[in-house]
């Protein structure tokens, strides 16, 4: 590889083959330096583009959104209607319900799956053909699921939960579809966290006579705690910002659901309805600003968690 690259490069360099390669003439060097300066300038622009876009979008949304946000906006229910009047209180409540419910379904399943893949799959791979094949199928499943676009989860949730199981557009249908969506996120993060726990922890616990499960429950999981929680918080972020899945499973009533079988609208959905159906852009921006702040808080807590996690692993390991 190295030889090929270097020879390809040598062909490009302009040194005469008849003469031994002399140091490049100073004008040549100057030109190369100028090209480099120009190119690096472009790279700086590209590198800063992301920051500029972020500051532009977030700044614009927060600035224009702030004009409509006041205590009343946060605490009154959307009145619906063509002008999109009212506040966003019920959408906040619905978002909280949905986040809680989705995590209640996805977190245990996801963490369980990660535990199996990290703690038990190794032995299964050595064992009978069927289990080892199932383990690789499970890994493939997680990887593939992570790439499936959210509207396909929505379509699936609509077909299975809304229609076939007759949940209708409801909190429970949306939560189950949402759980499918965030399952791969939780599994992957928890897997990483469990893998990072040193082997010696497990060996120490097993040597003291604890069973596998006691070791996992009392030693491995606590050590991997912040990492596992990071995955859950990532899941929270996905649910808060997701629209497509809930657009086709949650219905969109402005009122807060009073049972699992009633629909509602999350903040993100509310932004969509305000912008597309009622063209109440100012209120959409207001809701959007709250949404962006929520996402930024979630991101900040992830950063904080992973710092803590690294520190702990460094300190104890």
């Amino acid at each position: 590889m190295t030889e090929r690259l270097l020879s390809a490069y040598a062909k490009r360099a302009t040194c005469d083959r008849s003469v031994p390669c002399a140091p490049p003439a100073s004008t040549h060097l100057r030109r190369r330096r100028a090209v480099q300066a120009l190119a690096f300038g472009a790279l700086w622009l590209a590198g800063l583009a992301g920051v500029v876009v972020l500051v532009g979008v977030v700044g614009y949304v927060l600035w224009t959104g702030a004009q409509v946000i006041d205590w009343e906006f946060l605490t009154t229910a959307p009145r619906g209607g063509l002008a999109g009047e009212g506040g966003i209180s019920t959408t906040i409540v619905t978002t909280l319900y949905l986040v809680g419910l989705t995590l209640a379904i996805a977190a245990p399943l996801g963490i369980g799956a990660a535990i199996y893949l990290v703690e038990y799959a190794g032995e299964a791979a050595k064992g009978s053909g069927l289990t080892s094949r199932l383990v690789s199928v499970a890994r493939f499943g997680v990887e593939t699921l992570a790439g499936v676009p959210s509207i396909v989860f929505g379509l699936f949730g609509y077909a299975l939960f809304v229609v076939a199981l007759r949940f209708g557009f409801s909190l429970i249908a949306a939560a189950m579809s949402g759980a499918c969506l965030i399952l791969p996120v939780i599994i992957r993060t928890a897997e990483e966290a469990l893998k990072a726990v040193p082997r010696s922890y497990r060996e120490g616990s097993l040597a003291l006579g604890a069973t596998r499960w006691q070791t996992i429950w009392q030693v491995v999981l606590p050590a991997a705690g912040p990492g596992v929680i990071t995955g859950i918080v990532l899941g929270v972020g996905r649910v808060v910002s997701e629209t497509a899945v809930f657009y086709v499973t949650l219905g969109g009533n402005a009122a807060a659901p009073r049972s699992l079988l009633q629909g509602g609208r999350t903040m993100a959905l509310h932004v969509y309805y305000l912008a597309m159906d009622t063209r109440a852009f100012d209120r959409a921006m207001g809701t959007g600003a709250i949404l962006v702040v929520t996402i930024m808080l979630i991101n900040a807590s992830i950063t904080w968690l992973s710092r803590r996690y690294t520190k702990r692993m460094m300190g104890n390991g």
Binding site: G47, L109, F281, I295
Partner: protein
């Protein structure tokens, strides 16, 4: 007793691990079950290549949506990949440490911004800008160009971080060898580092394509959603991008809640097309990435 628990728990965890496979199977099963009748009634060729989508009259051609998705994605790649790749090289090779600590989290946060926010920003800022900048009759601002710009921003985090990893994993010896031969840093980047990171960068772009194809809400909000095969507005072929269009994803989201019968089946068929497309694209990216790791 505790050994019994131990054994039971193992099977419980195994069951959890199988849930994602089950979900994947169910997704495939349900979408195929609902979508296949449409393939059978309308015919595969007519469904995929038919140019007219009038569900009420039983004309169910997905070609306008396929064209819309492909064009919007192409636009996003053309606009987004150069910037993302530049940002990746910047982060891996050029940026001073303090700046990297600002740029990288910013790019990550860009990935976390909800797609409705991009859609809303697109509707309020981008669409009027496109309308006023390109004074062509028939240009409403809503259309492929606005969609491509929004998508370009949305794929930036994915493409940047995966290519940055690829660039970082180029062996140091390659870089040092080139520098020792007298190449400038820039020549080294272009002549040695980027070619060596080629497969990882390709994978990054393909993952970006996957993200772009799957995006839904932001697309509905800025692309205009008209169901005709996009064509240029005048003799300049580039005005194609000022035309309104609809994506496969948008087609599903816009119509599913009121569709019945054959129309509903055709929407599931849209899902099948999308599902197959995305799995193919992602498998390609994964194959490229694992080849590099090996």
């Amino acid at each position: 007793m505790r050994f019994l628990v131990d054994r039971g728990v193992k099977y419980l965890m195994f069951a959890c691990a199988m849930v994602s496979v089950l979900v994947l199977l169910l997704i495939g099963l349900f979408i195929l079950r609902e979508g296949l009748p449409a393939f059978r009634t309308v015919g595969v060729g007519e469904l995929l290549l038919g140019r007219v989508w009038r569900p009420k009259e039983g004309q169910l051609g997905l070609w306008p949506m396929i064209a819309g998705s492909v064009l919007a994605t192409t636009g996003a790649i053309v606009l987004g990949v150069p910037v993302s790749l530049g940002a990746a090289v910047f982060l891996a090779e050029v940026a001073p440490n303090w700046l990297r600590e600002i740029v990288r989290p910013a790019v990550e946060l860009l990935a976390g911004i909800p797609s409705v926010i991009y859609g809303l920003f697109g509707m309020i800022v981008l669409v009027p800008w496109v309308r006023n900048t390109f004074q062509v009759p028939g240009n409403t601002g809503y259309g492929l160009l606005s969609a491509s710009i929004v998508l370009a921003v949305m794929i930036l985090p994915t493409v940047t971080s995966v290519s940055e990893d690829a660039i970082r994993s180029v062996r140091k010896e390659h870089k040092e060898g080139s520098l020792a031969l007298g190449a400038t840093h820039w020549q080294t980047i272009v002549g040695v580092i980027l070619p060596a990171a080629r497969s990882g960068i390709t994978a990054a772009v393909i993952l970006g394509v996957g993200r772009a194809l799957g995006e839904t809400m932001a697309m509905i909000m800025v692309i205009g959603n008209s169901v005709v095969v996009p064509s240029p507005l005048n003799d300049n072929p580039l005005t194609l991008f000022l035309r309104q269009a609809r994506t496969l994803t948008g087609n599903i989201a816009v119509e599913i809640s009121y569709a019945t019968g054959l129309q509903e089946q055709a929407l599931f068929a849209t899902g099948v097309v999308l599902f197959v497309l995305i799995i193919a694209v992602n498998s390609l990216a994964r194959a490229l990435l694992s080849r590099r790791a090996a």
